[in-house]
Amino acid sequence: MIVTQAIISGLIIGALYGLAAIGLGLVFGVMKYLNIAHGSFIMLGGYASYWLFALLHLDPFISLPLVMLIMFIMGLIFYRILLAPLSKFSEDLKVNNSLLITFGLIMVVDNSATLLWTSWPKSITTLYSGAAFNIFGIRLTYIGLGGMGLAIVIILALHLFLTKTYFGKAITAIAQDWEAASLMGINIDYTYLISCALAITLAGVAGVLIVLCYSVTPSGGFSWLMIAFIVVTLAGMGNLYGIFAAGLLLGVSQAVGSLLIGSSYQGVIGFAILLLTVLFRPDGIFTRKRKGYAR
């Protein structure tokens, strides 16, 4: 019974993990840049929702579209100012410089957040915050279900977007071979711009759920960045479809694992999974094992 509860809870948390990871995976898959400020953007989404709630009394699920819009605009600016100038560097330098710049961005964003909003954790408590119901002895919170539902909707929307629209197909093409994609008449810079904005928007959505279920702090981005990175590595860098499944896997592993070793060491499970993946399946568990290693 406890195990089933753990599995269900793990799935729900895993959906959030997957959501948190998509943005990171999208930017890396399309542009090959690693945006380690991703965690900070997640926090920013949470803060946006928090302030809309605190100042305008808007329920986070209602203010979600507005938060998404804010994050989308932020993503556009982020790409234009920080990522676009990276295109002049050679392929090897690009990744390294993206790491450096986004690290610098973390410093700017996190410290600005501390200055503006202090480092005290912020979270949103609504009427339905603790509410749950029981099915067959399993406890399900409304927020948990809502989050899971949101994640599923987003995954489906993303899938349709990638397979049915020309823009989505362009993204898939660029992820495989950007030069060939440009020869199709695809405007690489524009695609990068919109993909980045989308990625940041998705990060913001994750942030909204996080500020509801947990809390946000200026430096809280790092741990969510790690989770997103573990999920993306598990799914395989550049493999967008596996991310949701990988998130679920991580969530369930942590939930079940913490039954054995206690919940305060949950993070260790995540790192262990990362280590195992990197050692034995560096291309992700969903990609067929290629000859050689992850180079």
Binding site: L99, G104, L105, V108, V278
Partner: protein
Amino acid sequence: MRCSRGKKFLLIGIVVGILALGPLYMRTDIVGLFIVLFIHIILAQSWNLIGGYAGQINLGLAAFFGSGALVTHLIWIGGANSFMALLAAGMTGLVLSAVVGFPTLRLRGIYFSMGTLAIAMTAEILVSNLFSGALRAPSIFAAGFTAESRYYVGLISTMISLLTMYLIARSRFGVGLRATRDDEDAARVTGVNTTKLKIEAFLISGFMAGIAGGIFTYYYLTIWPEFQFSTLWTFVPLMIVCIGGMGTLMGPVYGSLILVIIEHIFSRTLGAAHLIIFGIVFIIAVLYFPGGIADGLSKAQKILEGFFSSKKGLTKPTHDTRMAGETRI
């Protein structure tokens, strides 16, 4: 080069001489500033070795620095002399490098960077749970404290680290590192064992970072473990190297000089905001001035040289550059 070998050695000798006699004529607080400068230079060179020369971005430098500081404190308390404590600090950094480096340096750089980040995060959490508040050195140490001794330890360590970087840069090891940085696949194909080189560089880098931490404890006596492991101690050296000039010998020195001076002048007025400004300057430097100050200085030197030398420049070849003897079909 205009500057002959002999002239360069003379210049270095003069600078070293001036610095060596420092405590004799400097005010105590200036001596302290120099010690801070030395710590920053060593830490920055540590990052520079693995980041600038080998092209692997270490995002968890704070963990190496903090471990060195912590271990020095613990060993000191345990009764060992300062030299052993410092050495232990270096070894701690080296061991930590081995732990992180062996699994991650075989793979693409992003795994290394995230691995170092993970270590730093874990260390920060562990340490703040195990040691809360300040760790003070016993009073006997405080009694025997002289700024001069710390100054010389710092100066000698800095000289050694600079010499090490200089020798590495000119050795086959250094060439291999740079080849790995510029195009690892190409380097591999020509027979360079890139993984081995990366690990070796990282071990040296970890050792240096540990030493920097040891000197820190040695000077400040009281350390706050949480602070020693904070991301700040990763970001500041990183920034120093990128602004000063990644992958150069003097870059970290220039960057450290500027940082120490600016922090000294502005730390009271700006407070936390100074990190935001540093962050912005850092981003601008990476995007638009990748060579940093070192590159700027060498460009300035070339311009000056061109100014003073005679105009014997090469003329552009004329358009018909067919080689003699070729016939048009």
